[in-house]
Structure formats: structure tokens, C-alpha cells
Symmetry: C2
Subunit: 379 residues, 2 copies
């Protein structure tokens, strides 16, 4: 009764989620095989991954189209996303490149382990409609959405309320004034999670939680009003679901992204993996929670408002935040400028209701321009 080996295509294999996905595959070679790898610019790491995992297909951005040593057939990112040889496609490509690949995989009816946040936030309505039509399955990789998904196992939807937990990031106790002086290095020091740079900054501003609220709305078909956020610094409770009878389920675990990644890959099975950390019950003491402070962390409020208004607002939110975080990381704006610039981009946007893909792309482009203009010109 051994489960067959699952064949995986990993888009974004050199990023944080991609590398941790390969860690899981490395730990469980009898369960998973890599049939496709795709990366953006880190060709050195991709070459080593190709050498180790010997995929049948690879995809990478290269002007010269240099063949990787031992690499498989070169295909486009969209082709890799639809690979018939893959049982599950992991979409960990960040930004809008991820969206195009995701849409291709959704239309091809694939099982999709989804780690790209921007796509569902910007184009949730389009993606979910396409998935409904094709039968594609979205398997969340984010720890919060994985938690909710696990809690919904065996339950009849819809739940009454989703409660997303947030670590609160490294500046949970900072006053708004103190935040002015936050350095890039400080913002990249996340207290509980090991993640990519963009997500780490988004965690520090709580924008990440706002984006997750919008994602949860699409993944689980729950209105934004029925999604709450609770700050939980130790990141042990990954999220909770309240049911119609008042019963609540929570999913807990050590804060290690390999756990939700593995669950998305192994679903509906669970696999024993000795390299994953476990909760130490002998030292399990307190779990603290507190309401989020949207005065000090306005990104959360901005995201929830954008999600509630819908249309192209979430795409603007997403693109403006991406641009603002880039500016912050390159030292050109301060920490408190991130919400300020996002708010300006949203305020200046003329919304399109039920947008098509070009309208979404255009809204994002406009938002980035807005951020650039305000970041350059000040105030």
C-alpha cells in the first residue's frame, strides 16, 4: 500500500519557498521526484539544483539560452506550470511572473501548491473562476492558509469565521515615532520565521497579514468581514477556524515553512519527516494573543479596506507595496513611508470593478508609478 511517488514541478526553486520545497523532497526521496525546475536570475543555484535533482524540464531567464549542466529540456515558465508529467506544480515565483504561470496551471487543471501571494490578491476573482471551470486545485503553502485548510479537513463549508494569526513582526512594541528610525537590517530580522526579504518586510509592516486576509477570502470563500486577525508573537498557532456551532479548531506547529510546504505536497496524506521540528510538549507553556494595532500598523487596515472594496484596489495595494518595499530595501525611503506611499497610491486610483487581466496589470503599473513619483518627490 505504498503511495506512488509524486512528481513535482517547482517554479521559483531558488527563492526561499523553492529551496525549502527542495529540502522536503531531499528528506523524502521515496515520496517525491522533481520533474521540473524554474528560476529567475540565480542561475548558479539553479545549476546546482539541476545537477542534484536531474529534472526532465527546466525554465530560466537567460538571454543566451545556455544549457545547464545535466539539465533537462528547456521550456517556458508557462509550459512548466502546465507540465503533464507533474502531479503537483509548486508556484513559488514571486510577483506578476507568478501570476501568468499560475493562470496557465489553473487553466490546465493542475494541482497547484501556491506560494505566490500577489496573484491571488490581485486577481483572485479571475483565478477562482478559472479553477472552478477547470477543476484545478489550489493547495495553500502559506502557514496561515495551510492551517485553515487543515482545520477545514472533513468539515462542511462555509466556516463562520477565520482567525488569522500574525507574529506581529520585530516591531510589535514600537511606537509610531520609534518606527521612523527602523533600519533595513532591523526589519529583516524576523523573530520567528525564515522567509524571503519581501515577505519579511511585509511581516514587519503587517501588510503580509492584510494580503493573507484577501487571499483567505478567495481560497475559502469567506467574506472579508468574517476574517479576523490576532497577533500571536510566538507563531505556534498558525490560524483558527470558528464553525457555525461556536466550536473552534486551530492548527499548531513549530514556525518552519517546510511543514506547510510538505502538507501541500503530501495532501491528502501526512508523512513522517524526522528533519522537521516538533512541538516540545514538556515545555509547552503559554500562548499569548493580542488584537493588532492598525494605528501603528496602517498597512493592515489599508489591505483590509482594499480587499473589502475589491475591483482593482487589491492589485494597486499589492503593486504599490512591492514598489515601496523595494525602495525601503534600497534605503531610499523610511519604514513609515511604506504605508504612506501605499495609501497615496490607493487614494489616487480610479477603481475598475470586476477587472480583466489587462486592467489588473494596468492598475499595478499605475500604482508603481505613483509610488515612484511620491517616493522621489517626497510628501
Amino acid at each position: 500500500m505504498k503511495a506512488p511517488v509524486k512528481r513535482l514541478a517547482v517554479l521559483g526553486s531558488t527563492g526561499s519557498i523553492g529551496r525549502q520545497t527542495l529540502d522536503v523532497v531531499r528528506a523524502l526521496p521515496e515520496h517525491f521526484r522533481i520533474v521540473g525546475l524554474a528560476a529567475g536570475k540565480n542561475l548558479g543555484l539553479l545549476a546546482r539544483q539541476v545537477e542534484e535533482f536531474r529534472p526532465d524540464f527546466v525554465s530560466y531567464e537567460s538571454s543566451g539560452r545556455v544549457e545547464l549542466p545535466g539539465g533537462g529540456e528547456l521550456v517556458t515558465l508557462e509550459e512548466l506550470a502546465c507540465l503533464s508529467a507533474a502531479d503537483t506544480v509548486v508556484i513559488a515565483t514571486s510577483g506578476m511572473a507568478g501570476l501568468a504561470a499560475l493562470l496557465a496551471a489553473v487553466k490546465a487543471g493542475k494541482n497547484i501548491a501556491l506560494a505566490n501571494k500577489e496573484s491571488l490578491v490581485s486577481a483572485g476573482e479571475i483565478i477562482m473562476a478559472a479553477a472552478d471551470k477547470s477543476g484545478a486545485r489550489l493547495l495553500p503553502v502559506d502557514s496561515e492558509h495551510s492551517a485553515i485548510w487543515q482545520c477545514l479537513n472533513g468539515e462542511k463549508p462555509p466556516p463562520q469565521r477565520l482567525v488569522l494569526t500574525a507574529s506581529g513582526g520585530p516591531f510589535r512594541d514600537y511606537s509610531r515615532e520609534r518606527m521612523t528610525g527602523i533600519t533595513v537590517a532591523q526589519a529583516l530580522e524576523h523573530p520567528s520565521w525564515r522567509m524571503g526579504k519581501k515577505v519579511t518586510i511585509d511581516s514587519a509592516t503587517l501588510m503580509n497579514k492584510g494580503l493573507e486576509v484577501i487571499e483567505a477570502r478567495w481560497l475559502f470563500g469567506v467574506p472579508i468581514e468574517s476574517i479576523s486577525v490576532l497577533v500571536h508573537p510566538r507563531s505556534i498557532v498558525h490560524s483558527m477556524v470558528e464553525f457555525v456551532d461556536g466550536s473552534v479548531k486551530a492548527q499548531l506547529g513549530c514556525p518552519d515553512m517546510r511543514l506547510p510546504i510538505q502538507y501541500a505536497l503530501s495532501y491528502p496524506e501526512r508523512l513522517s519527516n524526522p528533519s522537521l521540528p516538533r512541538i516540545d510538549w514538556a515545555n509547552f507553556t503559554g500562548l499569548a494573543f493580542e488584537p493588532p494595532d492598525t494605528d501603528r500598523f496602517p498597512c493592515l487596515r489599508l489591505a483590509i479596506e482594499a480587499g473589502r472594496k475589491g475591483g482593482t484596489f487589491p492589485a494597486v495595494l499589492c503593486a504599490a507595496d512591492e514598489a515601496a518595499v523595494e525602495f525601503f530595501l534600497s534605503g531610499r525611503i523610511g519604514f513609515n513611508d511604506i504605508p504612506r506611499l501605499v495609501e497615496k497610491a490607493l487614494a489616487g486610483h480610479r477603481v475598475v470593478a470586476s477587472p480583466d487581466l489587462p486592467a489588473i496589470v494596468e492598475a499595478g503599473r499605475g500604482a508603481r508609478e505613483s509610488v515612484m513619483a511620491f517616493a522621489g518627490g517626497g510628501s
Copy 2:
């Protein structure tokens, strides 16, 4: 798509669980109908329940076999437990009377909402074997087992570990010396749960948690070694399940027995019930946990040992505890005498491995005699 009305027989309708079961039925008359009621001695309350719910069948202990006003056909407890007119039988009769009724219901292949603790602790092997054979379904009513059951929803067994939470009772912080002076009134003041007297005292000694460990072993097919206990004073997290991949699920809710009772009745559905309390997310702050102290609360250790050794030991544990708690409630022994007498009964017992029902009954009788002898004679 309205679910059909579920017909219920409630055995032990005048006890704490029985009354709260009727509260649930009262709140959801479109979902449940009472077809049978049984009680022991509180005929006054039974008469009022019969008048309100108009069951087709009743069962009660009465020398004169007086008919209740408006009461249905008089049947035996075992007959009521097997009622073909009932979709689910609630077994909330305490003590060994509950065991006989439970076995009858199990053999008849019923859906059984089980609140009688003693039966599964004393005769778990017999009951589970009979249930396997008949296809009877045991639906746990205890909040801890309901929590585990809810967490296992949609998951493939067996889990890696069960973590039962315990309120710790009113004497959680007492030294062993201070416990000597505990009065009956103090012991009946449970900090979080409204329950019957016997269970309330068992909660205060942690014997209740030990009995639940043994029950969990049978209900979920998990070895005693894979069941942990954590003290959690606020009784919000009702229990947790750790899976093979290290993921953990917890079930949470306000400490109100009507919630797990309703779930056992409505399963696999969940029903909205405005009369049940809900977690207040705006004021959801801390959840504290600590390991149990089996030096101060030896009953927990005694129960786990008895469960591990098996055979007739759990029956001795159960009966000795029942007798000791009676003695405590009537003021004849002190609080610390409860574990002392239970330990003596266990120490003096000659175990029977894989006992049949008469051996279990005999072991219980011997245990009660042991407690009476030691309680009377001191030392």
C-alpha cells in the same frame, strides 16, 4: 435540503449531562425529538421532562411502577438503549448501570452519544470488540474526547499523539499539606465547568483526567504512552492531536458541556445554536499551559498506571474511586484519602488479564470492599 429530525433516547436524563442534553433539544426543536427518557431516582424531575418532551418510551426505577403523567410506554433501561425508534442513544447514566445499557446499545449497533465514563474505563476491550462486530458508533460527549474527535475529522488514523487538557481543578496551586483541609464545598466549586458532583470531585483530584486517558486509548486506538496531559486552567483548548508530520490540531470553545453534547447529537452536521456561548475574539488574550504534578495529584499517576497495566486494574481504579469519592462527599474521609484508598485497592488487587464482564464486575466489587475496609479502619 433540510436535515431530517433526529430521534433521541436519553438515558440518565435527570443528571447533569442529561439535563444539558435536553437544553440542546429545547433550543433546536426543529432538529431533535425525544423518543425516550430514562432516569434513576429523581422521579419529580423526570415527570416534568416527560410532560415537556412527551417521549414514546420511558424507563425509571420504581418499586410501584407508577405511570408518569403523560408518559409513554414503560420499558427497561436496556430496552430503551436499543430502541429502534431512536437514531441516537445518549448514555449519560452513571456507574455500572450505564455499562449494561451501553453494552446493549453497542450490541444493537446503535449510534451512541457516550457520557458514561466508567464503562469504557472498566470494560473498554469488551465494548470496542462488540462495537467492531455490530458496527455501533461511539460518539464522545466529554469535551476532551469530542475535541480529539473533531480534530481527527477528515484525517487518516492513527494520530501520533493525543494531548488531553485538564483545568487542573480548584486546587491546582495547593500544596499537598494544604489539600488535607479541603472541604466538600471547596471541592465542588469547579473554576470553569458545570458538572455533576462525582465528576467535579474527580476533576479536583485529576482522577477525571486519568479516566479520560484510558477512555481515549479505547476510543481512538492510541497506546497510553502516546497520550499526554497538559494543565490548562481556563479550559478553552479542550484537547489536541499531533499528527505524524508534526502538525497539531486543537479544538477550542467556551467551557460549556452543551457544545460537545450538541456536536455528538448533530454529527456529522454542525448546527447554529444562539443559546451557546462563543469565544470573544476581541478579548482573546492568553492561553496558559503547564505539566501536571502527579506528586500533588497522585490519582492521575494511578490511573495512567492502571491503564497501562490493563486487565481488571482500570475496573478496580474506577470502582475504588467511586467509593472513595462517595466517602469524601459524605464527609467520612479527607481529600488526600481519595488517592490513598484507590492506591491501596489497586495494590491489593490480583489482576485478571483480558477479563470478561463478570470478572470486571467482581473486580469492582472487591475494590469497593477494599475502600470501605480501609476507610473504616483508617491507616
